[in-house]
Symmetry: C2
Subunit: 334 residues, 2 copies
């Protein structure tokens, strides 16, 4: 890594670097970027199993990235952290079943105290939306929906060129729209959320349905013979082998992804839909089908422009990059 | 009606009056208001059955209201019209199954030509949202959702104190969120839209289910003995009589209303939800149940502020009043 050389006429904000951190239920991803979103350094660590150790696990990623920067003669300007769940305007997580150690905590304040740096926190998928809107696949769109598909589903809504936070900061949780009210149970406890059908967990649910119908032998084999152990990666592997039953599963999956996107488009009329998160790796296998089916399911589909459905340019790193961008915004705003 | 007397220090925009028109599939409502939303005159006419006569039917309501104003020594400053369906930024209806005579037509231009007045058009429920946000039940809320429940469901989304139009002007059609994907067929042709369960038509669907289970004798009687003839007003009448089966129907209805509102709140995080449209007349019989059930169905319901669900202050006239307010905005903007 070479030290950025300020050009004549550029100011601190142009060359400043920040640390962005995306906290998931199983891993913590940290990146260092400037306002251009180019990742100068990255670090992945497992999320501590004990909830009370999670805040220090997050801080440790930030500290390690700062140490690496200092070794290169650099200093971060700020830290931005994304957490999954309902984050209020002050950055406090009110509801986040995947990261119980962060609930109720001023996580930005915790990082501020540990690093003596400006720090901000927001919902992880909202930060992904910031990255994709400012620098990625939704660049130039006044209205955009970013959906992150991993174990669960997150989302960020760009409205009038800005992230929509809503009254409490909680806006943008499309995974918990009710879409098949008597369908599978969701991790949140409710029955029929979109997340139970169109996330990684939803993909596994659909594979188990196919297995229960007596198909999906190869997927079952890859999962070690136990339907309860089927996960997204087993379906991905079977897809790589062109297993016909995996194609059936991904076809059903694409249909459900399309139904939820149709609801979102009918409600919000975005110019583009960006799909990110861990399932971005599989997007070639389902996005073309999703695109066709959205047109069928959206209100007046034949009478309105087709809304492009595209993969996230920052892939599964969008949330961390967005954290860094938000942190730089805070520094620029003074 | 007395002629408004301009006060010293007030300008034209303060005392100007406009005509607002709400076009439905069965009737056209016109009102005259100032910026205070107080209705100085109103006129209801049936929507012409022949599609090609609808534009003139709309113009006739505007002309008659203007004639009444002129008789009082007044002049309207502008006309604003709301139509159900997908209305673009220029006021052209692209998809509107209930008013085929207006589809593809520049209805504002038609009124401009006929009345020689400034004219604007927007979605009917979006105009209802403008009225409720500016002067009604959502007054003072930065983020609000207005849902109009009549034969179908319409909606208007207030985001950051402004109506959300989206990329094409089509935002805000919550009736066609897919909520019970294998549930009843909607008027739009798709299966499982919220509208098929939580509108006047949805209420009738739920009554027919109860009748099919061998109950609902009084509702069936009020409908002349034919389940196919059951409409919202029969259930309303049975409710007035405290018919226990009508209470079962309204209980199921409240549950479905709550499921859709929960999806909207999870997605948009409004400060308030306002229910308007023709079913406002029944709102006392279902809003308290809706309120309780929304908390159960919304993501993290126990960990976030309760979002009040309230009836529209302008009731079924909100769309027409909003049309007048939008028309006055256009005049004020020059």
């Amino acid at each position: 890594m070479t030290q950025p050389q300020p050009l004549a006429g550029t100011d601190q904000a142009t060359t400043a670097l920040a640390i962005g951190i995306d906290v998931g239920g199983t891993k913590i991803l940290g990146v260092v970027t400037g306002a251009d979103g180019v990742i100068a350094n990255r670090l992945m660590a497992p999320t501590p199993k004990e909830p009370e150790r999670v805040p220090d696990g997050i801080a440790a990623v930030a500290v390690e990235l700062r140490n690496r920067m200092v070794a290169d003669g650099l200093e971060p300007a700020a830290v931005g952290v994304g957490v999954p769940g309902l984050v209020d305007h002050e950055g406090v997580l009110h509801y986040g079943p995947n990261v119980p150690g962060v609930v109720g905590l001023d996580i930005a304040g915790h990082l501020r105290g540990r690093l003596d740096l400006p720090a901000v926190a927001d919902n992880d998928a909202s930060l992904a939306a910031v990255a994709e809107h400012r620098l990625g696949a939704a660049r130039g769109y006044e209205h955009a929906i970013i959906v992150t598909q991993g174990t669960g589903i997150g989302g960020g809504l760009i409205v009038n060129n800005a992230l929509l936070h809503g009254a409490n900061g909680f806006a943008g949780e499309p995974g918990h729209m009710l879409i098949d009210r008597f369908g599978p149970r969701c991790a949140c406890g409710t029955q029929g959320c979109w997340e139970a059908l169109a996330s990684g967990a939803g993909l596994a649910n659909l594979a188990r349905q196919v297995i229960a119908e007596g198909r999906g032998a190869r997927i079952l084999e890859l999962a070690g013979g136990d339907p309860g152990h089927v996960r997204g990666e087993h379906i991905a592997e079977a897809l790589d082998e062109r297993d016909p039953d995996a194609l059936v599963v991904i076809d059903k999956f694409a249909w459900w992804v399309a139904q939820g996107l149709a609801s979102l488009i009918t409600l919000l009329d975005p110019g583009i839909v960006v799909l990110g998160g861990g399932l971005t790796a599989l997007s070639d296998s389902f996005i073309p089908d999703v695109q066709d089916r959205v047109v069928d399911a959206v209100l007046g589909g034949a009478y309105r422009p087709v809304v492009p459905v595209v993969p996230a340019e920052f892939g599964a790193e969008a949330g961390a990059v967005g954290g860094s961008l938000l942190a730089l915004d805070v520094v620029a705003a003074g």
